[in-house]
């Protein structure tokens, strides 16, 4: 069993980087087994090919533009995943989209893909998240833990004290 939780986004563009921020925060909220790998993908593309091939599950965490109120949690799975890429709900999917298409070509695409995210408020220059997205972050982390639970991966809570 190999599962990757991939945070994507540009942390210099405020809420654009919420996926990366979620990846940074998840290990502070729970302990994960070694079958789960957390990757800060930034805005890169083909460099990630190797780490994303032959996965049992890929959970992408990203800013998702779904026309909802800022900070609204969004989960896309099944048929909604290709739609996410086709309609460019995320700004930096060119690289990632190419990687996933290449994995299809190689016959090594993830068996299961889900996209978790929040509606962004601001994509302005800056390294802080907006207030609305910051307020949505705990829910996003819960969704990530739930997604792993659905895959049969239990995350033991709170290692914050231990750190």
């Amino acid at each position: 069993m190999r599962i990757v939780v991939l945070g994507v986004g540009n942390i210099l563009l405020s809420d654009e980087g919420l996926g990366v921020r979620a990846i940074e925060r998840l290990p502070l909220a729970c302990a994960l087994p070694p079958t789960v790998e957390l990757i800060d993908g930034g805005t890169s593309g083909m460099e990630m090919l190797e780490e994303l091939e032959g996965l049992d599950a890929l959970i992408i965490v990203d800013a998702v533009r779904a026309g909802r109120a800022a900070g609204t949690p969004i989960r896309l799975a099944g048929d909604a995943v290709p739609v996410f890429f086709k309609t460019r709900l995320s700004p930096h999917q060119v690289g990632l989209c190419d990687v996933l298409a290449t994995l299809e070509l190689l016959g090594r695409a993830p068996k299961h893909t889900a996209i978790l995210g929040l509606q962004p408020q601001s994509l302005a220059l800056g390294m802080e998240l907006s207030r609305e997205v910051e307020a949505g972050m705990p829910e996003l982390l819960r969704m990530m833990i739930n997604e792993l639970l659905m895959l049969g991966i239990g995350a033991s809570p709170a290692t914050i004290e231990a750190r």
Partner: protein, 567 residues
Amino acid sequence: MSQRVTIDPVTRIEGHLRVDVEVDAGKVRKAWASGQMWRGVENILIGRDPRDAWAITQRICGVCTTVHALASVRAVENALQLELPVNAQYIRNMIILAHAVHDHIVHFYHLSALDWVDVTSALKADPAKAASLAESLSSWSGNSKAEFTKVKERLAGFVGSGQLGIFTNGYWGHPAMKLPPEVNLIAVVHYLQALEVQRHANKVVSILGGKTPHIQNLAVGGVCNALAIDSQSVLTVERLLAVRGWIDQLADFVKNVYLIDVAVVGGFYPEWTTIGRGIVDYISVPDIPLDGRNTQFALPGGHIAGGDLATFKEIKTHDDAYFRDGVTESVKHSWYEGGKGPLHPYKGETRPQYTDFQEDGKYSWLKSPTFYEKPMQVGPLPRVLAMVAAGHQPTIDYATHALDLVSTVAKTKVGLDALHSTIGRHAARAVACAVEVDELARQWDLLLASMAKGDLKTFNKPVFPKGEISGVGIHEAPRGVLSHWIVINDGKIKNYQCVVPTTWNAAPRNDKDEPGAYEACLAGTPVAIPEQPLEVLRTVHSFDPCLACAVHVVDQEKQPVVKVKAA
């Protein structure tokens, strides 16, 4: 009747290029390159600790994270006049060379080969003929008839399923596609093999850099890799031996596949050696330092005027005033407050002033850099020409080898002059890649030799003085000259400017209204079908722009008539 073709951005990372061309009588008459996003990262850095800058600057570009990290630490080290342990240089050199090799392979096969290679035509190829052609050109082990047959069947299944996936947006059957089916099949086979090989380069970066895509091991003053002969937790000889294995596999592919493929493709497109010449004033910088003070380098660099190698003037060190004093940036046609004329990066200002896209006024978020007031072309072509002019023998040998092969395929003598072109930029990139992969192996040798002598030092602690200091970090990145300019006051960043390769090449017109490299190189490019501006993409892609593009063609009233996404 003239038509307007717009190539618009899709990515939100460094640059977001949009290119507008005016097509008249089947040729590009005028072109405008426009950066569509304000890259204001400089302003984020002001007031911060200079030691943290590299971790932030490596996020400004999604494609080349490593190069910005490196240029940033070099800028701070230059300001401090800090000497580095040579081991730190060797480790950094290996990271940047592996990154460059990765970048070049992926650029050619996965980002631009499909401008020249018709995937659907490969289905008509005879695998036996393709294999015997490939075997006649190189000793690569992956050129067997069995391999070619297997790939053709796999491709047929993929195309037959109706889901072209990654090949969806190709210009299949376009009249500008000229390769025979067998050569197309060879290219498709190597496209797939390149996907396997590129991961070796990535592994080198991730073992040495601690992590990929964002390396973790840099520090102002060196690297934080602890070296050891035998300990488990650090960079050991055992891990370095694994690195060497990947380097050797990369070298095999680069020399026996990539360099050959580029020469063969070039031989079938001889007309493209005369298209896309544009600006032939070139600049590159020396890199792969061999000492702790950036004064001796494995790979030379410098300036060439008017495409004439006899004019070559070498940039000797990273402190050379010839480079440092020659760079200025104009904002006359850029969406920034101006009025002060071109400014040196230490004095550079980044105050946005957005107007609309104004052909004769401001139309880009990119500034327009010049070297002694002239626009330049940067990248592997300027790099290779400078190394040839400097008498760098490995570069001369690989360039000669590639051009001889082009001549054989084209059945006419093709010389160095053919490199000043769209296809020439691809050839130069492959030559540079061969030089770089050899140098990667040599840096490995140097590190091991240094460790064998008992030198395990990788870091010198920086000390920040009171008062104001400034420095420039320069790097010959895969796409060309990169420079980060920093002003530090009392240990905090006071000003920061990045002058990146794509800014040199995709620059808008400068203070004297002269076009930038893309703009100049596009003039005269033929366009057979304005709705499918493949030829424009060929020239833009030959520079390896840091971006993907969506293409739309706009009629004279500037209404979109077609919109095509192109990788």
